[in-house]
């Protein structure tokens, strides 16, 4: 009788957990009150622990770099010389820019900027399972972040907000297998488009729609504007081109612009509630 009861508990628990996994698939638009309450302890503590471990890691890497400093000084001296020369030519250009600014004001020109609303947040923790490329930031609904807000860093695309609490958000990166992105190759001659097929070891594999595309290593990859990511966000650059004769399509390996291993701060481009709900319904 007792073992029957135990088996029943196991079956019910498994079913509840499977339902929970299914329910949370795709990320929730809001979290429970208990999660939010706990997050007021969890997120600040993670913030402190991450800061301490970041500082320790930096100090250790500083010590290991001491031996390289001599060579770096020589390189920097050379760079300094070049920069001094560039500075002179840029000063001349600045005079022209100032003149154009004055002209712009006189013509009542309105500056168009798609990303006026943004929030800077700190990466406080990362997924521990080794299976997902996700991290948690210390900004949420209270800071104006919404589900599907775009996350960028170092001028490159990082990912999107997957799930959101009052003062924290889970961010899914572009190197996660759950991310689907369409991209185009930045080229003056042709407009080649493709999509990210898979990820491995922090690199992305993309398929190009044009079978005869003239591709080279080092070409820049940006977002197309299809899907949730706005047009023109820098994804990375091609590091190798693979000919796939069976599929009649070319594949490229892309190195992301952002180094996800050392990500400490990110910028979240906020969207309004209506946009977030629209994406949620159509995704």
């Amino acid at each position: 009788m007792e073992s029957r009861f135990r088996n029943l508990i196991i079956i019910v628990s498994v079913l509840v957990l499977l339902l929970s996994i299914g329910y949370s698939n795709g990320g929730r638009t809001s979290v429970t009150i208990v999660e939010n309450l706990f997050s007021y302890v969890v997120i600040p503590t993670q913030d402190v622990l991450t800061s301490v471990s970041n500082n320790v890691t930096e100090k250790i890497s500083d010590i290991s770099r001491v031996f390289k400093y001599r060579e770096e000084i020589k390189t920097l001296e050379k760079k300094n010389k070049i920069l001094k020369e560039e500075n002179i030519s840029l000063t001349l250009d600045k005079v022209q820019i100032d003149q154009l600014e004055t002209l712009k004001k006189n013509l009542n020109y309105i500056n168009r900027n798609d990303f006026n609303d943004y929030v800077t947040a700190k990466v406080v923790s990362k997924d521990s399972s080794n299976w997902f490329n996700m991290f948690t930031i210390n900004a949420g609904l209270n800071q104006g972040v919404k589900k599907y807000s775009i996350v960028v860093a170092d001028n490159g695309l990082v990912g999107k907000v997957y799930e959101i609490g009052d003062n924290y958000s889970k961010v899914i990166t572009i190197v996660d297998n759950k991310s689907k992105i369409s991209f185009e190759i930045l080229s003056l001659d042709q407009k080649y488009q493709g999509y990210i097929e898979s990820t491995h070891d922090g690199l992305l594999t993309g398929r190009i729609f044009e079978p005869n595309a003239n591709l080279k290593d080092g070409m820049t990859i940006i977002t197309t504007g299809q899907g949730i990511y706005p047009e023109g966000l820098l994804i990375g650059k091609i590091i190798s081109v693979i000919e796939d004769e069976d599929a009649f399509l070319k594949r490229v390996t892309i190195e992301p612009e952002v180094d996800f291993r050392y990500l400490k701060y990110v910028t979240v481009i906020t969207i309004d509630q209506e946009q977030s709900e629209w994406i949620n319904e159509n995704n």
Binding site: S24, Q46, S125, W131, M134, S198, H200
Partner: protein, 158 residues
Amino acid sequence: MKITKIMLISLIVFLIQSTIVQKISVHEIQPNLNIIVIVLIAIYYDNKTILVYSLFSGLFQDLYTSPYIGINIMLYLIISIILIRFESVFNKTNIISPVFLISLGTSIYNILFFVFLKVLNLNFSVYRLFDILIIELTLNVIFGILIFKATQSYLLDR
């Protein structure tokens, strides 16, 4: 062990795992402290403690760092139930016991995780599974031995 004490331990382990342990990764693969602690609890404490610890550690991980709520709870509970079955072969002083159990727990966790992701139709290659298994298993065993040695006398005397 009292439930509040187990909950506090699982919260502390989760906080360390999601922050400090991230810095000790090899090829971006980090050790899993929860599996190590589950094994230590299985060796030194009763069945209820190991199940409650698995529940809370999985819950914290799912709520604050994972895309699916329930996946880690389920996997840690499965590992715990299997470890309970192995209870008769535990040796509290021999290092072979934790090494074997940590290897078993890490393998079950990652193989089942891979199966779950395949069921959810996510594109993960079997090579990724091998990478994670080899590196995480090695790291877990190294850290497991260190933690086992550091806590052994305290846990035996309690």
